[in-house]
């Protein structure tokens, strides 16, 4: 082959190589790689936060144990008293003298709900 043939050969080989590779990346390839990198960075950051949280909890437990040892704290079991259960309205007994207030309270709460659902959420 002479020089001219060599040149043609080079061109044909290059062209054949270009076509033969048969593998092209998708058009959004760069976007996907960038997205993956950003996701990885976020994951790393949340992992770091989690580590700090765990370190904080461990330190707090350590400090608690140290303090308890320092003050020679001895835990004692609380005495359990058996209380006889009797049904009743308990602490709400006082409301029996304020029926007007109870009715007003109910109307007020219902009105708040209506205002919230009908007006505010729209």
């Amino acid at each position: 082959m002479d020089m001219k043939q060599d040149d043609n050969f080079e061109k044909i080989v290059s062209s054949a190589l270009e076509k033969q590779s048969g593998f092209e990346l998708s058009p959004d390839f760069a976007d996907r790689v960038v997205l993956m990198i950003q996701q990885q960075a976020t994951q790393k950051e949340s992992q770091r936060d989690r580590l700090w949280l765990i370190a904080g909890i461990v330190t707090m437990i350590g400090a608690l144990v140290y303090t308890l040892m320092k003050v020679e704290f001895i835990p004692t079991l609380p005495r359990i008293e058996v209380v006889k259960f009797s049904p009743g309205v308990g602490v709400f007994t006082f409301l029996s003298g304020y029926s007007g207030l109870v009715i007003f309270g109910i109307i007020f709460v219902v009105a708040l709900h209506i205002i919230d659902k009908r007006l505010l959420r729209r």
Binding site: M1, K4, Q5, N8, F9, E10, I12, V13, S14, S15, A16, L17, E18, K19, Q20, S21, G22, F23, E24, L25, S26, F29, A30, D31, R32, V33, V34, M36, I37, Q38, Q40
Partner: protein, 186 residues
């Protein structure tokens, strides 16, 4: 076209648009490298992604002692070779004898493709070449890399690169000549 130095410095300062531009600029090179070495289509794009992730991770270590494209191609080559090793896929060793080399491309192909043009025939021949030959040819012809750069990318001595390139081209020329018979390149 944005200068590589400017692009790298923008990426290092956290500009992801610059990294997107860097990918766009070099994705063809990485696709060629991975495409030549990896046959499994399902693995190719994922490997290319890994290559650019690695590029992003190591970019601060790049000191411009070579071209950015050469450095990226080196990462792509090593990544693809590691992938082949993990999957226990052997790269065919290159035979030393010319006769053995010729065996990669059987003679009867020319008859099969008698009606088709030279380029199609060459595409078939290239496909049958050993991986290292294809890679060296691709880097030289498509990416316009010189012997030193190809050596840097593949870790081959410069002499071996020259030898592979010469043999691959010679093989293609011989086969093409046979195919063309008395015809000349047009």
């Amino acid at each position: 076209m944005v200068d590589d130095r400017a692009l790298v410095s923008r990426v290092l300062s956290g500009d992801m648009q610059a990294f997107r531009a860097l990918i766009k600029k070099h994705e063809r090179l990485v696709a060629h490298m991975v495409g030549r070495l990896i046959k499994q289509e399902e693995d190719r794009e994922e490997l290319c992604q890994d290559v650019f992730m690695k590029v992003y991770e190591k970019l601060s270590e790049f000191s411009f002692q070579s071209q950015l494209s050469t450095w990226i191609a080196t990462i792509a080559y090593r990544h693809a070779i590691n992938h082949l090793r993990k999957k226990r896929i052997m790269i065919t060793d290159l035979p030393e004898h010319e006769n053995a080399m010729a065996a990669f491309v059987s003679d009867d192909r020319a008859d099969d493709l008698a009606e088709q043009d030279v380029e199609v025939y060459l595409m078939k021949l290239i496909d049958e070449l050993p991986v290292q030959y294809k890679l060296v040819l691709t880097l030289y012809h498509l990416e316009q890399k010189n012997y030193t750069e190809i050596g840097e990318i593949t870790g081959m001595p410069e002499g071996t690169v020259k030898n592979y390139l010469f043999r691959a081209r010679q093989l293609l020329k011989d086969k093409a000549k046979k195919y063309l018979g008395t015809e000349e390149w047009t």
